[in-house]
């Protein structure tokens, strides 16, 4: 069962927030309210009452629903203009002057007016979410249900999305139910429901600190906190302070579009470098060029003092580099142990040594009890740990992590960062990480901030705070650069 005994009432114009980790039951609750999944119980909206998807057909003209996933409801080959036309036709909207004005306003609010002819597939993640949102709002729904509209969206786009929502609630009295994985967004809601394991847990207060505390208390009560992490007798892979990666003027173009323009960046052993930027700023492209998944058009790249010019140069470096991709490249049909053995054999670690390492890491990283389970049956926090363990089996000097914490709950995220710190301090690893959680930036030693394919900041977190003395959080610093 994914959701038990949820009761909820909402007033006109109210924005209700569902907060919780992946798999906590938020999406199931939203699907049920939207009437697109079977459920037990009863839902009423105004005079409408429904208790199954079939009966909810009456609600559909009033409903605006945006399911979870970036650009999920968009058609990649259709332009922004064609999307608006399609949704207007499907919703059977009268195209009068009032409609045109409303449409124009939505486009302006979302900043999409200048991209009418761009195809959805070519929009950045944040723009896709904004287009999805205005398509969902085009028929002025009385009930707006949004499932994690801001996940994977940069802070700037997030602010803009919220502005549209706030305005809509105020002007039209729309009831909005919005789920999010960001505690910080709780402030923007009128009321917040905390989800955990299919249940609503009590809230201690409205600010994000109390919300986080609510989750911790609940986890403690249910005895659910993941085991602590500790790395013992780690072999040092490098002395702190050596330059292990040096990118000079790295440029990558796609046709006329320059995704990365002359980026310089340095990574030292025993250092965590945070790569930040809005959607479409060039983070992923940059990390892919560093990994050799994309060819560099201009500039130079040195990894461990070796100049990289083609794939051959990387061959011998493979054993020195570890990589955890955004979606954990695990095989779903193999158990955790089998997955790890497979990756160990790819790195030519002999079987006996592999088993020792698996035993060691699984105990120290607290997933020993899960070794014979399939990854898909495990909490995402555990998958994240064993993906990381897999990436460090061969004791690499450099570790690349692409949004490893997306969708992971607060508690697991905090423990994950502790683990990274251990790797950095005890083993001297150099870690390059991308993230959308600005609060995580504070754990990095150095920040490289990208904007429109260019580097706009490269400094320590402390120095950045000095530069913007009025900032109370890193998110505010981030937004300063995007003003």
């Amino acid at each position: 069962m994914v959701l038990r005994g949820l009761s909820l009432e909402a007033d006109e114009g109210e924005i209700i927030g569902f907060i919780g980790a992946d798999g906590a039951g938020k999406s199931s609750a939203l699907n049920a309210i939207a009437g697109v999944i079977k459920f037990e119980g009863k839902i009423s909206f105004g005079d409408l009452v429904y208790s199954n998807p079939k009966e909810s057909q009456k609600l559909k003209p009033l409903l605006g629903y945006m399911p979870q996933g970036i650009g999920l409801v968009l058609y990649d080959t259709l332009s922004v203009r064609e999307h608006l036309d399609f949704f207007a036709d499907v919703r059977d909207l009268k195209k009068d002057a009032a409609f045109e004005e409303y449409e124009k306003r939505l486009l302006e609010m979302s900043g999409l007016s200048g991209f009418l002819n761009r195809r959805a597939g070519d929009l950045s993640g944040g723009m896709k979410q904004k287009l999805s949102l205005i398509c969902t709002m085009l028929h002025r729904p009385a009930l707006l249900i949004l499932d994690e509209p801001t996940t994977g969206v940069d802070p700037l786009s997030r602010l803009e999305l919220w502005e549209i929502l706030k305005q809509n609630a105020k002007e039209r009295g729309t009831v909005a139910i919005i789920s999010t994985a960001y505690m910080r967004e709780a402030q923007k809601m009128d009321r917040v429901l905390l989800f955990d394991d299919g249940e609503i847990i009590p809230t201690l207060g409205d600010d994000d600190a109390s919300l986080e505390e609510s989750f911790f208390q609940n986890a403690r009560k249910k005895n659910k906190i993941l085991p602590e992490i500790k790395i013992s007798n780690a072999k040092r892979v490098a002395n702190a302070g050596e330059i292990v990666m040096n990118a000079k003027g790295v440029t990558k173009k796609f046709g006329d579009f320059t995704a990365c323009r002359a980026i310089d960046a340095q990574l030292k052993s025993g250092e965590i470098l945070g790569l930040l930027g809005a959607n479409g700023a060039g983070k992923t492209t940059f990390i892919k060029t560093l990994l050799g998944l994309l060819q560099i058009d201009e500039g130079e790249l040195y990894l461990l003092d070796k100049k990289i010019s083609d794939a051959n140069d990387r061959k011998e470096l493979k054993s020195k580099i570890g990589y955890v991709s955004q979606r954990f490249a695990l095989y779903d049909d193999m158990s955790v142990r089998e997955n790890m053995l497979f990756f160990a054999s790819m790195h030519k670690i002999d079987a006996k040594r592999s088993l020792e390492l698996i035993d060691k890491y699984s105990r120290e990283l607290g997933f020993f009890d899960y070794l014979d389970d399939m990854p898909k049956d495990l909490p995402i926090g555990i998958n994240q740990r064993f993906s990381l363990a897999t990436a460090i089996l061969h004791e690499p000097i450099i570790l690349f992590l692409d949004e490893p914490t997306s969708g992971v709950d607060v508690i697991a995220r905090a423990q994950f960062w502790k683990l990274l710190k251990e790797l950095k301090e005890k083993m001297g690893m150099a870690i390059l990480i991308t993230t959308h959680y600005m609060s995580e930036a504070e754990f990095c030693d150095k920040i490289v901030l990208l904007k429109d394919g260019e580097k706009v900041a490269d400094d320590s977190v402390l120095n950045l705070y000095k530069r913007f003395p009025n900032a109370t959080s890193f998110e505010e610093i981030f937004l300063e650069f995007y003003k």
Binding site: G35, I37, P53, K60, P61, L72
Partner: protein, 369 residues
């Protein structure tokens, strides 16, 4: 049903198909199949190795032998071997057929007394054996008619009654229409519905007031429109490229083809309800349409010579009914006058309607839970 909603989906679908270039699939695939199979499957046999054992040693038996030796279909040799020896040769795959002329063959023939010619055909490849047997029978029969003897000497296979020339194209190509028009529309339909499920855009249907009927009509009409053009393209291909005669009623051909496309669309619709990824939709549709359409279409084996389960499966699949109409349209030409054609046309209509209604019933505006 609101026309505007259907049109919106229709236009969107067409734009997507054009921009992803999938629009080529409905045309490239059928044309490829027809050309590949049309030229590729050769059941025609040239130079079959026949051993003739003449126990009569008469003028007529010599004439028969000569007829075999003069035919390009046969590579015939006269021998004094015993039957057992000849069969041993066949076992070693040195012979395709053995013809045994009985003693007093000439005498019986002149007296109109039934005489029995022994024919052994190597049946390791059944369809080739079938053809060789037909050729041998045909040759013997032509001798009998030259001599003015009654035809009861040898019974003939029905298969070459309309097909005097024994050209493979005439045997196979009309059947290929029944194959491609069954496979291709089903795949396109299954694909354009599964695509929405796989990507998540299906939520635009789930969470809006669009009805099941509107959604299905929109989806099916795209595939139907695109494939309707195929009815003419394939006709041109068959008549001009493969040089087949068209003896029947074009209206009947067109009507039955459109109905048959609807049947195929229904098939694709049912499959798309079961699956939620495009790859599964394609694989499943290919499996459920391609193999049976080929096996039970009458291309490689006449349906009236099937028995037991095979006979029932052949009748359960709509392929057989369409093929009958198409063979008739190209090679016979009895048109609407043939009661069987009309009956089969109705059966096709029932299939189309049935599939659509079942699909409409099974399609749910909700996520699988």
């Amino acid at each position: 049903m609101r026309f505007r909603v259907v049109k919106a989906f229709f236009v969107k679908e067409l734009l997507e198909l054009i921009r992803t270039k999938i629009i080529l699939m409905p045309y490239v695939m059928p044309i490829m199949i027809v050309i590949l199979f049309g030229y590729g499957i050769k059941m025609q046999v040239v130079g079959a190795r026949v051993l003739i054992i003449d126990n009569d040693h008469s003028k007529i038996s010599a004439l028969l032998t000569q007829k075999f030796q003069n035919s390009r279909y046969f590579n015939a040799a006269l021998s004094n071997q015993s039957e057992a020896e000849a069969l041993r040769e066949m076992k070693k795959a040195n012979l395709d057929a053995i013809l045994i002329i009985p003693p007093s063959f000439e005498k019986n023939l002149l007296k109109n007394v039934k005489s029995e010619l022994g024919i052994f055909v190597d049946a390791s490849f059944p369809s080739r054996a079938n053809t060789v047997e037909t050729y041998v029978e045909g040759t013997v029969l032509s001798l009998a008619s030259e001599m003015g003897a009654p035809k009861s000497v040898i019974t003939l296979n029905n298969r070459n009654l309309f097909n005097e020339a024994l050209r493979d194209e005439e045997m196979i190509v009309p059947g290929l229409l029944g194959l491609v028009l069954f496979v291709a529309p089903a795949i396109l339909t299954a694909l354009i519905i599964a695509k929405e499920k796989e990507k998540g855009t299906i939520f635009n249907f789930y969470s809006s007031s669009v009805t099941k009927l509107e959604f299905l009509i929109a989806k099916l009409s795209v595939a139907f429109t695109l494939h309707s053009l195929n009815v003419f393209i394939l006709f041109a291909l068959v008549v001009y490229l493969f040089d087949l005669p068209f003896r029947g009623n074009f209206f009947l051909y067109w009507l039955s083809s459109e109905l048959y496309i609807l049947v195929s669309l229904g098939m694709g619709l049912l499959i798309s309800i079961l699956v939620s990824t495009q790859i599964l939709a394609v694989v499943l549709t290919l499996m459920l349409t391609m193999l049976p359409a080929f096996m039970y279409s009458g291309i490689i084996m006449p349906i009236n010579s099937m028995s037991g389960e095979a006979y029932y499966i052949a009748h359960a699949y709509p392929v057989m009914y369409y093929n009958h109409i198409v063979y008739d349209a190209f090679l016979v030409g009895s048109g609407f006058e043939s009661a069987k054609n009309v009956e089969y046309l109705l059966i096709l209509a029932l299939y189309a309607l049935g599939f659509f209604l079942v699909g409409l019933l099974l399609l749910k505006k909700e996520l699988k839970s």
